[in-house]
C-alpha cells in the first residue's frame, strides 16, 4: 500500500493528506463490535484493516472443560441470530463420534427449526440492510415476521435467542398440534410477504443503484478466500452443504439453491431473499410429512464418554458453511473442539475488497457480507 501512496504524490505543491478513520467499534449499523481502521484519501479508501476480537469468549477452550451436553449451550452463543444450526452442528459432530443414530421425527424437527431459523436470520439481514441503505420501513416489517418465528420458538423451547433445543441424540421436546397449527398459519401468512419485500426493496431503483455494481467478487476470488454461504453463491459457485453433504434427511426435501450472477452486493442480498423462499418450501414439506416416533435417541448417556476418535461435521448455517472439528480422547469433555466460523472467514475479504471503493460504499459492502460478531470472535 505504501508504494501506491508515493505514486500518487504529485510533484507540484498540492499535498493530499490521507486521513485515518475508525469505523466502530460502536457504530449505528448494527453489526456488533467490529472495528475497521480505514485510511482514506478524500473519498477513496486506500487501506482497510478489520480489527476483531472484541467479542472473543474463548469457547474452544471452555469446551475442553465441559461435558458434551454442556457444550451445546456454548454453541448457541456463536451465531446468536440463528442459533439452531449452531446446536445442530455440534450435535452432529458428537453423534458422529459416539455413533448415535437419530430418530426420523427428531431429524424432521431439526430441519424445521433450522429452516425457520434461517428465515428469521435472513429477515434480520434484510431489515438491517435496508436501514444501512436508508430505507427504514422494511426493517419493521421484517421484524414483525421475525417476532412470529420467535414466538414459535418460544412455544417449543422457551427461549427466543439461545435455544439449546437441538440436543445430543435428537431434540429437547416434542411439538404438539397447537404448535403445528401455528407453524402452518405462519407459513401461509409469510408467503405473500416475500413478494411484498421484493416490491419494497429488492427492485427499488435507488437500492439497486447503491448495491448493483458495488463490492464485486469473482468466482475464483470467492473460492480462494474461502467464502461460504450466500457470499459464495452470490458469485455463482454452486456449493451448499445441504446438497453437498446432506444431513438430517435433507436429501428427501425438494428445494433449489439460488445462485447469483456477478457477485455484487445485490446478488448476495437477493440470494438471501430467495433462500427465504426455499426455506419456506422446505418447512412446508417437512410439516406435511412429519413422521411419528421418538424425538430423542436411546442410548445417549447423561455424561457421554465417547471412544477416542475425531469427527468433522458441517451444516449450512445462515451465514455460511459452519463446521465443527471434534477430537475426543475418551473423557467426558471434548479434547479439542474447533469451530469453522463462516463469518470469521468471510470477514477477511474486507481488507481487500474495500480498497479502491468510496467511503459511502463501506456500509453497503459490510452489510452484504452479513456477519454476526459472535461467530467471528467465538
Amino acid at each position: 500500500m505504501s508504494d501506491t501512496q508515493t505514486a500518487v504524490e504529485p510533484e507540484h505543491k498540492i499535498r493530499t493528506d490521507s486521513m485515518f478513520v475508525n469505523l466502530g467499534p460502536q457504530h449505528p449499523s448494527t453489526h456488533g463490535v467490529l472495528r475497521v481502521g480505514l485510511t482514506i484519501e478524500g473519498e477513496l479508501i486506500t487501506k482497510a484493516v478489520p480489527d476483531v476480537g472484541y467479542l472473543h469468549r474463548g469457547t474452544e477452550k471452555l469446551a475442553e472443560a465441559r461435558g458434551y451436553h454442556h457444550c451445546v449451550v456454548l454453541t448457541d452463543r456463536w451465531d446468536y441470530v440463528s442459533a439452531m444450526p449452531n446446536n445442530l452442528v455440534f450435535c452432529l459432530a458428537a453423534e458422529k463420534i459416539m455413533g448415535v443414530k437419530v430418530p426420523p421425527r427428531a431429524n424432521a424437527l431439526r430441519v424445521i427449526m433450522c429452516e425457520l431459523n434461517r428465515i428469521a436470520s435472513h429477515l434480520l439481514f434484510f431489515g438491517t440492510y435496508g436501514i444501512d441503505t436508508g430505507a427504514f420501513t422494511p426493517f419493521l416489517y421484517a421484524f414483525r415476521e421475525r417476532e412470529m418465528i420467535l414466538d414459535l420458538f418460544e412455544m417449543v423451547c422457551g427461549a427466543r435467542l439461545t435455544y439449546n433445543y437441538i440436543r445430543l441424540g435428537g431434540v429437547m421436546l416434542d411439538v404438539n398440534d397447537a404448535w403445528l397449527a401455528k407453524a402452518k398459519e405462519f407459513i401461509e401468512y409469510f408467503k405473500p410477504r416475500l413478494d411484498e419485500y421484493d416490491t419494497l426493496l429488492s427492485f427499488n431503483p435507488i437500492f439497486m443503484a447503491r448495491t448493483e455494481n458495488v463490492g464485486l467478487i469473482s468466482k475464483e476470488t470467492a473460492i480462494n478466500w474461502g467464502l461460504s454461504g450466500p457470499n459464495l453463491r452470490g458469485s455463482g459457485v454452486d456449493y451448499d452443504a445441504r446438497k453437498a453433504d446432506p444431513y438430517c434427511g435433507y436429501e428427501e426435501y425438494d428445494f433449489t439453491v439460488p445462485l447469483g450472477k456477478k457477485g455484487s452486493c445485490w446478488d448476495r442480498y437477493y440470494c438471501r431473499v430467495q433462500e427465504m423462499r426455499q426455506s419456506v418450501k422446505i418447512v412446508e414439506q417437512a410439516l406435511a410429512k412429519l413422521p411419528a416416533g421418538e424425538t430423542m435417541a436411546t442410548g445417549v448417556a447423561k455424561v457421554p464418554k465417547p471412544a477416542p476418535g475425531e469427527a468433522y461435521a458441517h451444516v449450512e448455517g445462515a451465514r455460511g458453511d459452519l463446521g465443527i472439528y471434534l477430537v475426543s480422547d475418551g473423557q467426558g469433555s471434548p479434547y479439542r473442539m474447533h469451530v469453522r466460523a463462516p463469518s470469521f472467514i468471510n470477514l477477511a475479504i474486507l481488507q481487500e475488497m474495500l480498497v479502491g471503493n468510496k467511503v459511502a460504499d463501506v456500509i453497503a459492502i459490510l452489510g452484504s457480507i452479513d456477519i454476526v460478531l459472535g461467530e467471528v470472535d467465538r
Binding site: T133, R144, E185, I206
Partner: protein
C-alpha cells in the same frame, strides 16, 4: 393414549436414560412410543398411578384469563382479511370522518378569513383614532399582528408536522407512534419534547468557534420565517402582497445554505465539516431545477406575484376540470414532479438526506448541537417542508380554488390548508418509503437528469403558449 405413555414412562427409572422423556399431556396423535406399540387404546381408561414427570402447559394464544383478546400480539391473521370487521378500524374511520366534517363545518361557519381581517383592521383603526394617534399606528399594529401570525404559523407547524410525521412513519411501519402524552393519540408529544429540549444542557465543543457555532442555527431558521411573507394562505390572505413574491421566496430560502456551512465548520470536527460541505453542495445544486421548473408556471401566469398565480388557476375547463397548472398536459405534471423532487432534496429529506443520516462515518453537520439549538435546525427543516407544501399548492394545485364546481361554501383558506397538508403528506410519505441516494448519485441525478428535463419543460411550455 395417556395410558400407553405413562406405562412407557413408568419403566424408565430403572434404566438410566439420557433424559426422562418429558412427554407433554397433549402430544399429537401420531407420536406413539416405540415399545408400547400394540396396546389397545382404551380411550376412557382410568388414569394410571405414575403421571408423566413434567407437564408443559398448552400455549395460549390470544387468550387471557379465559377470554379471547381483541388484539393479538404479533399474529395479525385475524385482522388482515377483512379490516372492516374490526371495531377499532371502524372507530378510527368514524373519528377521522368526524374530524374532517367538523373542520368543514367550522370553515363554512367562519367563512373567508380576509373579511374577518378587514373587520379587524377597521376595529384597530377605530381604536387608534379614538385614542387620538396618527393613522400610521394602525399600520404598525397591523404589521406586528401579521408578523406574529406568520411566526406562529411556522412554530405551530413545527409542533404539528413532527407529531404527524411520527404518526405517519409509525403507521407505515406497522407501529402506532406516540400515544401517551396528552392522552388522545399523543398530541402533546411534541410539546413535551420541546420542553425537554429546552431543559437540556447546551454544549459547545471546546474546539468550536463559539460565535459562529451559536449564530449558525439562527441563520438557518430566520430565512424560513421571513420567506413566508408573500405566501398566500387563502384569498387575499398573504402577509405581504409582493409583486416579486416567487423571487423573494427563493432568495430567502437560499440564505440558509450559509447557515448549514457555518454549522459544519464551527463544530471543530472534520467529519461535521465534510458533512456540511456535502450538504451545501446538495442544497445549492438542487436550487437550479427548483427555480427552472417554476418558469413554465410563471410563463402561464404572467407574473411573479403569488396571488396572481393562484388566481390564474381559477375557473373550470369543460365545466368540471379545474384549471390548475398540474392538469396542463405534460408541462404541468413534469413541472410538478421536478419541483417536488427538488424540494425534497432542498429540505434534506430522504431519499436525499445524506447530510443528516450518513452518520456511520461522516457525521452530519448538526452533530455537535444539543438542546434548543438542535431543535431549531429541525424547526427550520419542517418550516421549509411547509413552505414547499404551500408553494406546491399555490403553483400547481390552484391555491385556494375549490376543485368542485358546485362548491361555494367551503372557504379558500380551508382548501389551501387541505392542499398544503396533502403535499406535506407526500413529503412525509416518501421519506419512509425509499432508501437513500449516495452523494455522487444524488448530484448526478440533479445535474444530468432533473436540470435538462426542466429546460425541456420550459421549451414545452413555450410550445404550449405558442399553440394557444
Amino acid at each position: 393414549m395417556a395410558e400407553e405413555k405413562s406405562t412407557g414412562n413408568g419403566s424408565s427409572p430403572e434404566i438410566p436414560k439420557s433424559q426422562p422423556a418429558p412427554v407433554p399431556a397433549g402430544v399429537s396423535a401420531g407420536a406413539a412410543p416405540a415399545p408400547a406399540a400394540a396396546k389397545p387404546a382404551a380411550a376412557a381408561a382410568p388414569k394410571p398411578a405414575a403421571p408423566p414427570k413434567k407437564s408443559w402447559p398448552e400455549p395460549k394464544f390470544n387468550e387471557k384469563d379465559g377470554r379471547l383478546l381483541k388484539t393479538t400480539r404479533y399474529w395479525p391473521t385475524e385482522l388482515w382479511p377483512h379490516p372492516w370487521q374490526s371495531a377499532s378500524y371502524r372507530n378510527g374511520a368514524m373519528m377521522l370522518f368526524g374530524i374532517i366534517a367538523g373542520l368543514l363545518a367550522s370553515g363554512a361557519a367562519i367563512g373567508e378569513l380576509s373579511t374577518w381581517g378587514d373587520k379587524l383592521y377597521a376595529l384597530i383603526a377605530g381604536f387608534v383614532a379614538s385614542h387620538g394617534q396618527p393613522a400610521v399606528v394602525t399600520d404598525v399594529i397591523w404589521v406586528a399582528i401579521k408578523v406574529l401570525i406568520v411566526l406562529h404559523v411556522v412554530l405551530i407547524n413545527g409542533l404539528w408536522a413532527i407529531w404527524w410525521e411520527r404518526k405517519i412513519s409509525a403507521h407505515i411501519q406497522s407501529r402506532v407512534g406516540p400515544t401517551y402524552a396528552g392522552g388522545f393519540h399523543g398530541w402533546a408529544q411534541t410539546i413535551m419534547d420541546g420542553i425537554k429540549l429546552l431543559l437540556k444542557e447546551d454544549i459547545t465543543p471546546a474546539a468550536a468557534d463559539k460565535w459562529v457555532h451559536a449564530l449558525a442555527p439562527a441563520i438557518v431558521v430566520a430565512p424560513v420565517v421571513v420567506a413566508f411573507a408573500p405566501v398566500t394562505f387563502g384569498k387575499d390572505l398573504a402577509a405581504a402582497n409582493l409583486d416579486i413574491g416567487v423571487l423573494y421566496i427563493f432568495a430567502m430560502a437560499g440564505i440558509s445554505v450559509i447557515g448549514v456551512v457555518m454549522a459544519g465548520w464551527a463544530s471543530g470536527n472534520k467529519y461535521s465539516l465534510l458533512g456540511g460541505l456535502r450538504a451545501s453542495a446538495q442544497l445549492v445544486s438542487y436550487e437550479l431545477p427548483r427555480g427552472f421548473s417554476i418558469v413554465p408556471v410563471l410563463m402561464f401566469a404572467g407574473s411573479l406575484d403569488l396571488s396572481v398565480i393562484a388566481n390564474a388557476q381559477a375557473g373550470y375547463k369543460w365545466g368540471f376540470l379545474p384549471k390548475w397548472f398540474i392538469f396542463y398536459p405534460v408541462v404541468g405534471q413534469l413541472a410538478f414532479l421536478i419541483f417536488l423532487i427538488a424540494s425534497i432534496a432542498e429540505t434534506n429529506r430522504t431519499p436525499f438526506d445524506i447530510p443528516e443520516a450518513e452518520s456511520e462515518l461522516v457525521s452530519g453537520f448538526h452533530t455537535e448541537y444539543s438542546g434548543m439549538k438542535w431543535s431549531i435546525f429541525f424547526l427550520a427543516e419542517y418550516g421549509y417542508v411547509l413552505l414547499a407544501s404551500f408553494l406546491l399548492a399555490t403553483f400547481f394545485l390552484g391555491g385556494g380554488a375549490s376543485p368542485f364546481v358546485f362548491d361555494h361554501v367551503i372557504p379558500s383558506w380551508l382548501w389551501m390548508l387541505g392542499k398544503a397538508m396533502a403535499m406535506m403528506f407526500v413529503f412525509l410519505w416518501v421519506r419512509w418509503t425509499f432508501p437513500r441516494f449516495r452523494s455522487d448519485q444524488l448530484m448526478d441525478f440533479c445535474w444530468k437528469f432533473l436540470l435538462p428535463w426542466s429546460f425541456a419543460n420550459i421549451a414545452f411550455a413555450g410550445l404550449t403558449l405558442f399553440l394557444r
